[in-house]
């Protein structure tokens, strides 16, 4: 069941490609791509955070998250993702720039945080208390009655079962992560901010978390998650904000970002001859060997142009596949050396 759901999500970007509607206008993806005029939930404007002398963690970063979007903040380790999320939650002060959640400028401990659930840089719990007790105290620290917390609902999602009544110090890393996820979901927040939510989970748990995220998103919750895993963002998110060294590289729907860099993978009977031929073709940026085939970076040419040229030259084409994955876009945007 879980696997099937995940596959349908994996398939989503290619459906968009097939339909030629990278703006997400096709019906199947309507849920995942909310209208661009949905209310703004997060507004980050010219955010810069400098630590000490000269270390710039976030550099003039701006992006917008609208209601119902699932936005992936994507970048390699050290790109400034966690710093951005911490600033957004009022944990650190920006050096300059402003941030607003639901229209309210962020300050430490601001009231609007009651509408936000978060998991920041791994879970953190009081070790000598049970998982359940930790969630109760977390909730009550916010000054709201426990009856609003939907505690059992969150614990159900965590899948901890009877372990919820054991002391947290007996938990495995994965159990803590799941309890952290449950804590973020307390009170059914309108906005979820998740920092590397699948870090440290095994593949089956990753699928489960992804499945619950999609379910939560389907109910209208806005989600901002950070990840250094391209596949994760591609499979979970409707939108992506690519950051590198604290700077914004690109932002848009996953389809837009992947479409911004088009490439094709071909297998032919004589790769060397094919590479030489295609490199001279108009609309081709570069050709690189990728045994057993070759990868062609396109800059205007269509895949069909490549096939026509190869067949015209008497070469036999075995396989042609689009390589418009987020990974390609990402590598191109951030430069391969730093990933």
């Amino acid at each position: 069941m879980a696997i099937r759901v995940a596959e349908s999500v994996v398939a989503a970007p290619s459906r968009e490609e097939a339909g030629g509607l990278p703006d997400g206008g096709n019906g199947a993806d309507h849920r995942r791509l909310p209208a661009m005029d949905a209310p703004v939930v997060i507004e980050v404007t010219d955010l810069t955070k400098r630590f000490g002398a000269g270390v710039v963690a976030v550099d003039d970063l701006s992006f917008t998250v609208r209601r119902g979007q699932v936005v992936g903040l994507l970048g390699p380790n050290g790109a400034g993702k966690t710093t951005t999320l911490r600033a957004l939650l009022g944990l650190i002060r920006p050096t300059s720039g402003t941030m607003a959640i639901f229209g309210e400028t962020i300050r430490p401990g601001i009231a609007v945080l009651s509408r936000v659930g978060a998991l920041v840089e791994g879970p953190g719990f009081v070790p000598h208390l049970s998982g359940r007790r930790n969630l109760e105290l977390y909730w009550r620290a916010g000054g709201r009655a426990l009856s609003n917390a939907h505690l059992e609902h969150s614990l159900d999602i965590s899948g901890l079962g009877p372990a919820a009544d054991r002391k947290v110090k007996t938990y495995s890393h994965g159990m803590r992560q799941r309890l952290g996820f449950a804590q973020a979901l307390l009170g059914k927040p309108e906005l979820l901010v998740l920092d590397e939510p699948v870090n440290g989970l095994d593949p089956r748990q990753i699928v489960e978390v992804r499945e619950s995220l999609l379910g939560i998103a389907a109910s209208g919750t806005t989600i901002l998650l950070s990840s250094h895993l391209l596949s994760e963002v591609e499979q979970t998110c409707s939108h992506v904000v690519v950051v590198h060294r604290g700077r914004l590289m690109q932002a848009g729907t996953v389809a837009e970002v992947t479409a911004s860099v088009a490439s094709a993978y071909l297998e032919v009977d004589d790769p060397n001859a094919a590479a030489a031929l295609l490199a001279g073709l108009p609309g081709v940026q570069s050709v690189e060997p990728s045994p057993p085939g070759i990868v062609v970076q396109l800059d205007g040419a269509e895949r069909s142009d490549l096939v026509a040229a190869l067949v015209g030259a008497g070469l036999r084409v075995d396989t042609v596949t689009p390589r418009r994955s987020l990974e390609d876009a990402f590598l191109e945007l951030v430069g391969e050396h730093s990933v």
Partner: protein, 272 residues
């Protein structure tokens, strides 16, 4: 918020270990006097009692013996740790993304820590007195000055208990300096050990400085200088002036670092 903090701290093993020590040590003091048979107590400055005359004397000695080191340690442990522990567990960031102002978070932690430290510290004179009554009974106290020929001060049971109560309150109030410094270092470093060590270190260093005659001009500024001023309550012709000065000194040593701690905590980037 205070209830939440209380729930976190009361279940810690640390809390109960400290409480146990605060019961065992006065018990040992009482036992020592009972077994040793030494009828002339030592104690701090100017305390001259015949220890066997009343159980209350054991309470007074328990307070005197622990006010220089044990009680400051108790306060340093409780007040240096709350922010640092949460930082170490990784739960501080989750506490601070709740819709609660940071000063309220720190104030709640501080209040609970101080209440627990006071609760543990008062066990010392209470246990001392109870153990003492068990060994020596409940009688009026006769005390005399160091110099021969000084008048003898006689305190009724009620009067001596009241003075012990006042002495305990004064000693606990003097701990404001430990509370202030330990809290400030705890907030600044998020390191529990550094916070506790600085609270205790403040006492040790100033006790050493206070013992150096060459530095007599700065002695009134040191947080330990008036620590035992309460012993005047139990000697003939004692004056309350030292306690008055001590209270002012403790208030300054407490309030200044606490104000700095709150300012720092409000502005701090929470990276743990």
């Amino acid at each position: 918020m205070i209830a939440v903090e209380f729930a976190k701290q009361i279940r810690r093993v640390r809390t109960w270990v400290v409480a146990a020590i605060c019961v065992i040590i006065p018990f040992l003091i009482g036992l020592g006097f009972e077994l040793g048979g030494n009828k002339n107590g030592g104690g701090g400055d100017g305390l001259n009692f015949v220890t066997h005359q009343s159980g209350i004397v054991i309470g007074v000695f328990a307070l005197s013996f622990s006010s220089v080191l044990l009680i400051p340690i108790v306060f340093a442990i409780f007040t240096g740790e709350p922010i640092a522990s949460e930082a170490r567990w990784g739960s501080l960031r989750y506490l601070l993304i709740r819709p609660v102002a940071r000063p309220k978070v720190l104030a709640s932690k501080l209040s609970v820590s101080v209440v627990l430290a006071v609760a543990a510290a008062v066990l010392i004179p209470i246990t001392g007195t109870i153990v003492g009554i068990g060994f020596f009974g409940l009688h009026p106290i006769h005390t005399f000055g160091i110099s021969s020929g000084s008048p003898i001060l006689t305190l009724s049971v009620g009067g001596s208990l009241a003075r012990l109560l006042l002495a305990t309150a004064y000693t606990l109030f003097s701990m404001l300096s430990v509370v202030g410094v330990a809290t400030l270092v705890g907030v600044a470093t998020e390191n529990a050990l550094a916070a506790m060590a600085s609270g205790i270190g403040l006492y040790i260093v100033s006790a050493i400085l206070d013992a150096l005659p060459g530095l007599s001009r700065i002695h009134p500024l040191l947080p330990v200088h008036y620590l035992e001023a309460w012993t005047h309550l139990f000697v003939p012709g004692g004056s309350l002036e030292g306690m008055g000065r001590g209270a002012i000194s403790a208030a300054i040593w407490g309030v200044v670092p606490l104000v700095l701690a709150f300012r720092l905590f409000q502005r701090k980037d929470v990276l743990c």
